[in-house]
C-alpha cells in the first residue's frame, strides 16, 4: 500500500511533470523531423548521427563565443546539410534508404567526435557553457525556451502538412510520386526539401541536449534517442499530434522509471530500468505494426520515366 501512495505522489508532483517535459523535448523534435522525411517518402536513419552532430555543433558554436540562439541555428544548419547529403543519395540517385541512412549516421557521429577531439584534444573533464535557463511563465512548469519552441513546432508542422499547399505536396509525394508529378509537382525538389527541413529539426533535437538539458557535450550522449524517434513515428501513425502524445507518454514512462529506480534501486540492477525505454519502443512497434498506415511510397525511390 505504501508503494502505491508513493507512485501516486510522483504522478501529481510538479517536479515529475517538469522532468517529463524536459525529457520529451528531444523526442518531440526528433520524431517531428523523422515524420516530415517519412511523410515525403524518405526513411531517414541518419537521425542518430544528425542528432549527435546537432548536439556537438550547437554546443561548439556557443563554446566558441556564439549566442545560444546562434548555436541553435548552427545546429539546425548542420542538420539540414546532413539532410541534403541523405536526400541527394536517396532521392535523385534512388539509393537504398536503409544503407544511406546508416552511412549518414556513421558520418555524423564520427565527424562530431573528430571535430570535438580536434578542438579540445586533452579535455579530461568536458568544458561547459551556460545553457538556456528555464522561463518561469505562469503555470508553465518552468521549461527552457527550446521546449516551448518544440510545442509551437508541433502545431506548425501539423498546420503546414494539413492546411497548406506545400504540405499537401509533401503528403502526395510520399503517397504516390507519379501522381504528384502528373499534377506538375517536382517530386525530387519536394522530397529533398522535406528531408532537409526534417533533418534541421533533428539537429535542433540534438542541440537541445547540449544547450538546454545539459551544458556540455559527451560522447554517446544521444544514446539511441534517434532510433527511438524512428519507432515513435510508426507509433504515431505519421501524425504530428500523435507524435507529441507518443513522445510525452514515452517521456512520462522514462521519468517514472527514473523515480522508480530511486525507490526500488536496491531490488533490481539499474540497467533493467535503462533497458525499459528501448524494450518499450519495440513493444510499441509490435502493437501498431499490423495496422500501421505507412505512407505508400515510403522507401520507394522514384525515377522519372523509368521503364
Amino acid at each position: 500500500m505504501e508503494n502505491l501512495f508513493t507512485i501516486g505522489d510522483v504522478l501529481v508532483s510538479a517536479a515529475f511533470w517538469t522532468a517529463v517535459l524536459r525529457i520529451a523535448t528531444p523526442y518531440v523534435l526528433g520524431t517531428l523531423g523523422e515524420l516530415l522525411c517519412e511523410r515525403a517518402g524518405v526513411l531517414n536513419l541518419g537521425i542518430e548521427g544528425i542528432m549527435v552532430l546537432g548536439a556537438m555543433s550547437g554546443w561548439m558554436a556557443v563554446y566558441q563565443g556564439a549566442d545560444l540562439w546562434a548555436g541553435v541555428l548552427v545546429a539546425m544548419a548542420c542538420g539540414a546539410l546532413m539532410g541534403l547529403l541523405h536526400a541527394a543519395l536517396t532521392v535523385p540517385l534512388g539509393l537504398s534508404q536503409h544503407v544511406a541512412g546508416i552511412g549518414v549516421t556513421l558520418l555524423g557521429t564520427s565527424l562530431s567526435y573528430f571535430v570535438y577531439r580536434l578542438v579540445l584534444p586533452q579535455a579530461s573533464t568536458p568544458p561547459t557553457i551556460t545553457p538556456f535557463q528555464p522561463l518561469d511563465l505562469p503555470g508553465s512548469l518552468a521549461q527552457t525556451p527550446l521546449t516551448y519552441l518544440a510545442a509551437v513546432l508541433v502545431a506548425a508542422v501539423a498546420y503546414v502538412l494539413y492546411r497548406t499547399p506545400v504540405g499537401l505536396a509533401v503528403r502526395m509525394v510520399g503517397e504516390n510520386p507519379a501522381a504528384a508529378e502528373a499534377q506538375g509537382l517536382n517530386v525530387t525538389a519536394v522530397r529533398m526539401g522535406a528531408v532537409m527541413a526534417g533533418s534541421a529539426l533533428m539537429g535542433l533535437a540534438g542541440a537541445f541536449l547540449t544547450l538546454s538539458a545539459f551544458n556540455a557535450f559527451f560522447f554517446n550522449m544521444v544514446n539511441g534517442r534517434g532510433w527511438i524517434c524512428v519507432a515513435l513515428v510508426v507509433f504515431a501513425s505519421w501524425r504530428p499530434g500523435k507524435a507529441l502524445l507518443g513522445a510525452l507518454l514515452f517521456a512520462a514512462f522514462d521519468a517514472f522509471q527514473l523515480r522508480l529506480q530511486q525507490m526500488a534501486g536496491g531490488v533490481l540492477p539499474y540497467q533493467v530500468f535503462l533497458m525499459l525505454p528501448y524494450l518499450l519502443s519495440i513493444l510499441a512497434l509490435v502493437l501498431v505494426a499490423r495496422r500501421a498506415a505507412y505512407p505508400r511510397a515510403l522507401m520507394v525511390p522514384y525515377r522519372k520515366g523509368e521503364r
Binding site: I102, Y113, R117, Q271, V272, L285
Partner: protein
C-alpha cells in the same frame, strides 16, 4: 544527365567500383586532415605504414580484420535476403557473453572439444538474438531495422548488468569485467608472440563456404530469389518465411561468432569495450564487397588497415584517430554511389 540500367556489369567494373569509392573517400578526408594542419601525404603515409609497414603492423591488421570479416559476412548474408540486420553489434556481444559463460570453467571438456563448443555457443547466442526481430518481422510485420538497432542498446545494458553482477570477476579489482575463460577454451595463436589467432582461419573458411553455398546449392538459390523478389519466390512455392528465419540465424550466428572469437582468441575475458563498433563497420565491409562473400575478406582487410593505421598515425600527429571512423563512413557513402555507377550508365539527355 540521366541514369540508364546496364544490361551487364563487367567484372572489371565490379572490382574497380569499390576501389574508386575508397580513393574518393581518401580524397575527401584529406580535406579534414589538411584542416588539422598536418601534411596530408605524410599523414596518409604514416597510416599505410602503421597498417602494413611491419610484421607487427600486418599481424595487428589481420587480427583486427578477423571480427570484421565475420560481421561483414553477417551483414552480407542478411542484406542479400533483404533482412536489414543492423544489430550485429548486439549479436556480437551476446556471442561473447555465451563464450565467457561456456568457457569460464563450468564445462570440464578437453581442449579439442571445448573451444568448438565455446564458438558454436557464441554463434547460437548471436543467431537467437536476431531470431527475435526476424520473427517479429515475418509474424507481425515489424520493421527489423529499428528493432535490431534498439536491441543493440538492450544487449549492452544486459551485458553491463551481468558484468557488474553475476559474471563479475572477483579478481578484477572492481572493474566491470568477466573472469577470463579457461586455457582449454582459448584459440591457438597463428604466429608466436603476436595477437593473431586461429579465428582468422575460421573466418576465411566461412567466407569460402558461404560463397559455395550461395552459388552452388538450393539454399543459396532460395536466398537470392527471396532477396530479389519475395513475392515471386512465394508464388513459385519457396518457403519464404523459413528462408528469412534461416538467414537470421546464420547472420546473427556469424556476428555472435565474431564476439566469441574475440573472447576466445584475443581478449580472454569480456568487457564493455570488446568491440569498437565491429557490428556497424561490418555493414560498411559488406557494402564495399557488394555483398559478395569473398569480397568481404578484401574489404575487411582494408577497413582493419584503416583502423590500425589511424591509431598509429594519431600517435605521431595531431590528427584525432576518429579520422578512421570518418574514413569508413565516407567510404560507405562513396561506395553507394560507386555501386550505382556499376549498375547504371550515365547518359546525357
Amino acid at each position: 544527365m540521366r541514369l540508364e540500367p546496364r544490361t551487364h556489369t563487367p567484372l572489371a567494373v565490379r572490382i574497380l567500383a569499390p576501389m574508386g569509392a575508397v580513393v574518393a573517400a581518401l580524397a575527401l578526408c584529406a580535406l579534414l586532415v589538411a584542416w588539422t594542419g598536418a601534411p596530408v601525404l605524410t599523414a596518409y603515409g604514416l597510416l599505410v605504414e602503421g597498417a602494413v609497414g611491419s610484421r607487427f603492423a600486418l599481424t595487428e591488421t589481420l587480427t583486427r580484420a578477423t571480427p570484421l570479416i565475420l560481421t561483414g559476412l553477417a551483414a552480407a548474408v542478411a542484406f542479400r535476403t533483404r533482412l536489414w540486420n543492423i544489430g550485429a553489434e548486439g549479436q556480437l556481444y551476446m556471442g561473447a557473453l555465451a563464450a565467457v559463460v561456456l568457457g569460464g570453467g563450468m564445462l570440464n571438456l578437453p581442449f579439442w572439444l571445448l573451444w568448438p563448443v565455446v564458438l558454436l555457443g557464441g554463434a547460437l547466442a548471436g543467431g537467437l538474438t536476431l531470431l527475435g526481430p526476424a520473427v517479429l518481422k515475418v509474424r507481425f510485420g515489424v520493421d527489423e531495422v529499428v528493432t535490431t538497432l534498439l536491441l543493440n542498446f538492450v544487449v549492452l545494458l544486459f551485458v553491463s548488468m551481468l558484468l557488474e553482477g553475476a559474471l563479475k570477476d572477483p579478481m578484477g579489482m572492481g572493474w566491470p569485467q568477466s573472469a577470463p575463460v579457461v586455457e582449454a577454451a582459448e584459440l591457438p595463436k597463428l604466429v608466436a608472440r603476436t595477437r593473431l589467432h586461429a579465428g582468422l582461419v575460421i573466418a576465411l573458411a566461412l567466407a569460402v563456404l558461404l560463397w559455395l553455398i550461395d552459388t552452388r546449392t538450393i539454399w543459396g538459390y532460395e536466398n537470392r530469389a527471396v532477396g530479389a523478389n519475395p513475392r515471386a519466390a512465394a508464388f513459385a512455392g519457396m518457403p519464404v518465411t523459413r528462408v528469412m528465419l534461416r538467414t537470421a540465424l546464420l547472420s546473427g550466428g556469424l556476428a555472435g561468432l565474431a564476439g566469441a572469437a574475440e573472447v576466445a582468441g584475443l581478449k580472454g575475458y569480456l568487457t564493455l569495450d570488446l568491440s569498437p563498433g565491429f557490428g556497424y563497420s561490418g555493414i560498411v565491409v559488406a557494402m564495399l564487397a557488394q555483398l559478395h562473400p569473398l569480397g568481404v575478406v578484401g574489404a575487411a582487410l582494408f577497413i582493419a588497415g584503416i583502423f590500425v593505421g589511424a591509431d598509429a598515425m594519431s600517435r605521431a600527429m595531431p590528427v584525432p584517430n576518429y579520422i578512421a571512423d570518418v574514413l569508413v563512413a565516407t567510404s560507405l557513402l562513396c561506395m553507394l554511389v560507386a555501386g550505382l555507377l556499376a549498375r547504371y550508365r550515365l547518359r546525357r539527355g
